[in-house]
């Protein structure tokens, strides 16, 4: 990942900060832009579908499941067929989808459900999100690969 530098190879390469950031400004910028778009969409969903005290966090649930389905399609397309511009993947995959989905709200919502005595709902939310998200990414990636293979034949 880090670019080779002119240091002698006999010297154990120190984890230099510079190569990590070198040439990264455009990538960081599109990740920030994509992240802002994704987070705005997630915020809009929570406003339109507010969390009831003790209720199942549907907005965050569907946000995460939908984000996982989309990344399944996107990663197959961008790895296997689409020779996209080098900023497309950081913008959409890392930025938009990463900003849209959230792990922290998932964990804190679970905790708050347990704290307020809704342990059953908390456990259902914990397991359902995990199963639905993993199934979504798997189904989406598999279906996309099949569709692409059929088209190429």
């Amino acid at each position: 990942m880090t670019a080779p530098d002119t240091e002698s190879l006999s010297v154990r390469p120190r984890p230099a900060r510079l190569p990590l950031l070198r040439g990264q400004a455009p990538v960081v910028a599109v990740v920030a832009l994509g992240g802002a778009l994704g987070a705005t969409a997630r915020y809009a969903l929570t406003l339109g579908w507010p969390l009831q005290p003790g209720g199942f966090p549907w907005a965050t649930f569907w946000t995460n499941v939908a984000g996982c389905a989309v990344i399944g399609v996107f990663m197959v397309v961008i790895t296997d067929v689409w020779a996209a511009h080098r900023l497309v993947r950081p913008f959409f995959g890392t930025g938009v989808l990463g900003g849209f989905t959230t792990f922290s709200t998932y964990a804190v919502d679970f905790r708050e459900l347990v704290d307020s005595g809704h342990t059953g709902t908390a456990l259902a939310y914990l397991v359902a999100t995990l199963l639905a998200a993993l199934t979504a990414v798997w189904l989406a990636a598999t279906a996309t690969r099949r569709a692409l293979n059929r088209r190429q034949r």
């Binding site: 990942m1 880090t2 984890p15 990590l20 950031l21 990264q24 990538v27 960081v28 990740v31 920030a32 832009l33 994509g34 992240g35 802002a36 994704g38 987070a39 705005t40 997630r42 915020y43 929570t46 995460n64 984000g67 996982c68 989309v70 990344i71 399944g72 990663m75 950081p90 995959g93 890392t94 930025g95 989808l97 990463g98 900003g99 849209f100 989905t101 959230t102 792990f103 922290s104 709200t105 998932y106 964990a107 804190v108 679970f110 905790r111 708050e112 914990l126 999100t129 995990l130 998200a133 993993l134 979504a136 990414v137 798997w138 990636a141």
Partner: protein, 119 residues
């Protein structure tokens, strides 16, 4: 105003995730996605700290914006899928079990710390 707070937080959180992931991944040779693991756990801890203690504006900036964009479910599940598909099934299981248990632990720790300080 609220929207701007979410946007501002996300514009810090998402690049922070990208740079942390790069930094962490360049420092180990394992197939385990330590980079995503690190940002998700850190985000859970910060959101735990923010929840309950901060004003609604700070929660939008740091919670919905920063922590929401710092953490990711899509990359977590995609990396788990890749581990499973490439024969690293045990790593996939470890990633799921580890992320969930440590993430919940970090969130609880954050809430507890805030309660201990402000309580």
């Amino acid at each position: 105003m609220n929207w701007l707070l979410v946007v501002a937080g996300a514009m810090i959180g998402a690049p922070l995730r990208y740079l942390t992931d790069r930094a962490v991944q360049s420092r180990h040779d394992s197939v385990f996605p330590w980079g995503t693991f690190a940002v998700n756990i850190t985000g859970c801890l910060i959101l735990g700290l923010v929840t309950g203690a901060a004003s609604s504006h700070v929660q939008l900036l740091l919670g919905t914006g920063l922590c929401g964009a710092l953490t990711t479910y899509s990359t977590f599940s995609y990396e788990t899928l890749r581990l499973a598909e490439t024969g690293a099934g045990l790593y996939a299981v470890a990633n799921v079990a580890g992320s969930v248990t440590v993430g919940l632990g970090a969130a609880s720790t954050g809430v507890w710390l805030t309660g201990a300080v402000w309580g």
